[in-house]
């Protein structure tokens, strides 16, 4: 397991590593809640219905399918909503007010590749932080995904990383490698190998190709601008531009800011993309100066928002 080297001494390193373990524990709870064979959420709702079924994510509680149906005219006309379709509204509402917490704390499919990615040395990985407009690709993908009913097609199941994770679980549990179709092989290569093992942070699939994450961040990008919502809050006055947050962010949502954007305690500071931040707060745990934290309140305003401040910084 590769350790991400941080500045600020052993305490900062240990705190960040312990926090990561807490996050992984939370994702494991997410696995038990949403994935077969446990799928406790589905069991709970099935139990209410008197069926006491063995849980299975797909068809019943697959958020991808919920997203895929948002623009389906037939579904709105029928108003016949499954648990998964209703759940996507809950997830969206949470993202609007509290941030994309499903991604940041419960989605085992995203956490799995983040974990596996740490087995590969960073020097073999692509780092997209600050180099690629991930939000543009991500929202483009989301728009395409939502438009699929109009093209007479869909990728709800054939390109599902949730399902592939279930297959991996079934394979480990039974000792039998499940048969994958070409589409699942593509997903495995993109989600687990290219986006997981060989992309820094291990969440390449989440960053570019997950419609569930995309729709949450779309809500978050709106909600975070409201002063009463929760989000990762940046305090530039505490920031010394050590770069720890940039290093540990699994979504590569933090990048060094341009000179003059912030009035910091040293260096240019950082910028957080609301289009990819999943509020996992790993950056906060790695910051030795208290410059980042999850909480309610307004976003910090960049110094560059006012012309005199920008000019002062340049001079």
């Amino acid at each position: 397991m590769n350790r991400i080297p941080l500045k600020g001494g052993k305490d900062v390193q240990n705190h960040s590593d312990r926090f990561r373990l807490v996050r992984y524990a939370s994702y494991f709870i997410g696995f038990l809640l949403f994935y077969s064979p446990a799928a406790l959420v589905l069991r709970f709702f099935s139990g209410l219905d008197g069926k006491h079924l063995i849980g299975n994510l797909c068809d019943s509680l697959n958020l991808r399918m919920g997203v895929g149906g948002l623009l389906s005219i037939d579904r709105w006309q029928a108003m016949d909503w499954t648990l998964g379709q209703v759940s996507i509204f809950v997830v969206m509402a949470v993202a609007l007010i509290l941030g994309p917490l499903f991604c940041g704390w419960l989605c085992a499919a995203g956490a799995f590749t983040e974990f596996v990615g740490r087995l590969v040395p960073d020097r073999w990985k692509i780092d997209v932080a600050g180099k690629v407009d991930a939000g543009a690709v991500r929202y483009g993908f989301l728009a395409g995904y939502l438009s699929l009913p109009f093209f007479g097609t869909g990728i709800g199941c054939s390109f599902c990383n949730f399902r592939v994770l279930e297959y991996i679980g079934l394979g480990v549990g039974s000792g039998f490698l499940p048969a994958l179709t070409s589409t699942y092989i593509v997903v495995t290569l993109l989600w687990l190998v290219a986006g997981g093992m060989f992309m820094k942070g291990g969440r390449g699939w989440c960053v570019f190709l997950c419609p569930v994450g995309g729709i949450q961040n779309a809500m978050h990008a709106i909600g975070a601008r409201l002063p009463f919502t929760a989000k990762m809050r940046y305090r530039p006055e505490n920031c010394r531009s050590c770069g720890n947050c940039v290093e540990v962010c699994p979504m590569r949502a933090i990048a060094p800011a341009a000179d003059g954007d912030w009035q910091t305690s040293g260096g240019p500071g950082v910028r957080i993309s609301l289009n990819t931040c999943i509020a996992c707060a790993q950056c906060s745990a790695a910051c030795p100066h208290g410059a980042l934290g999850y909480g309610f309140g307004p976003l910090a305003k960049p110094a560059s928002a006012t012309l005199p401040a920008r000019e002062a910084a340049r001079s």
């Binding site: 019943s60 728009a143 490698l177 994958l180």
Partner: protein
């Protein structure tokens, strides 16, 4: 300009994936739909020669069959499912219901209008791979209490053999499912 290009690339990806997936799913993932009472469903033929390039390269001998059994009677019914006349060894993953492996049936009754859905996973064993036909049998749904046949569907697994030819090679091998 760069942002617009990135959005366009992002938009094109799911559309292209949707069309690719639709083309592949019919060839690589078989579906068997059974219902009782009712007419027999469409026979299922898995042709390994029709698999896509990726599948042929990485998993040429593995495939799965999605099976659904619909209860169209007026009352709840327990249902058993087995594969007959097929020398392939299938792993079963039964969705949503408790599966009693000894009885080859679900523990809970399927409600009227409800469906039992399951996956059959298999790998063609090495000793069979040189043959043109791996399986020429049927998927059977039965009542576990009485053994009564509820419905059945022909199942053939071939490697580039036309439908007519497949009928001439009957496998009467023992049942190897579990």
């Amino acid at each position: 300009m760069v942002t617009a290009l990135a959005v366009a690339i992002g938009f094109a990806l799911p559309v292209a994936a949707g069309h690719y997936g639709r083309g592949m799913s019919g060839r690589e993932a078989a579906k068997a739909s059974l219902a009782f009472p009712g007419p027999p469903g469409k026979p299922v033929t898995v042709d390994l020669a029709a698999f896509g390039g990726l599948k042929k390269t990485l998993q040429p001998w593995h495939f799965r069959i999605f099976v659904s059994v619909a209860n169209k009677t007026a009352g709840p019914r327990r249902v058993g499912v087995r594969v007959e006349g097929c020398a392939l060894f299938f792993d079963w993953v039964v969705r949503d219901y408790t599966w009693e492996a000894d009885a080859r049936a679900v523990a809970e009754p399927i409600p009227p209008g409800g469906k039992l859905t399951l996956y059959l996973f298999t790998e063609v064993p090495e000793e069979l791979r040189g043959q043109p036909i791996y399986c020429d049998g049927r998927i059977v749904a039965f009542a576990p209490e009485t053994g009564e046949l509820l419905t059945a569907l022909p199942l053939r697994v071939v490697n580039g053999i036309a439908d007519g030819a497949a009928h001439e090679h009957h496998h009467d091998g023992a049942l190897h499912v579990h």
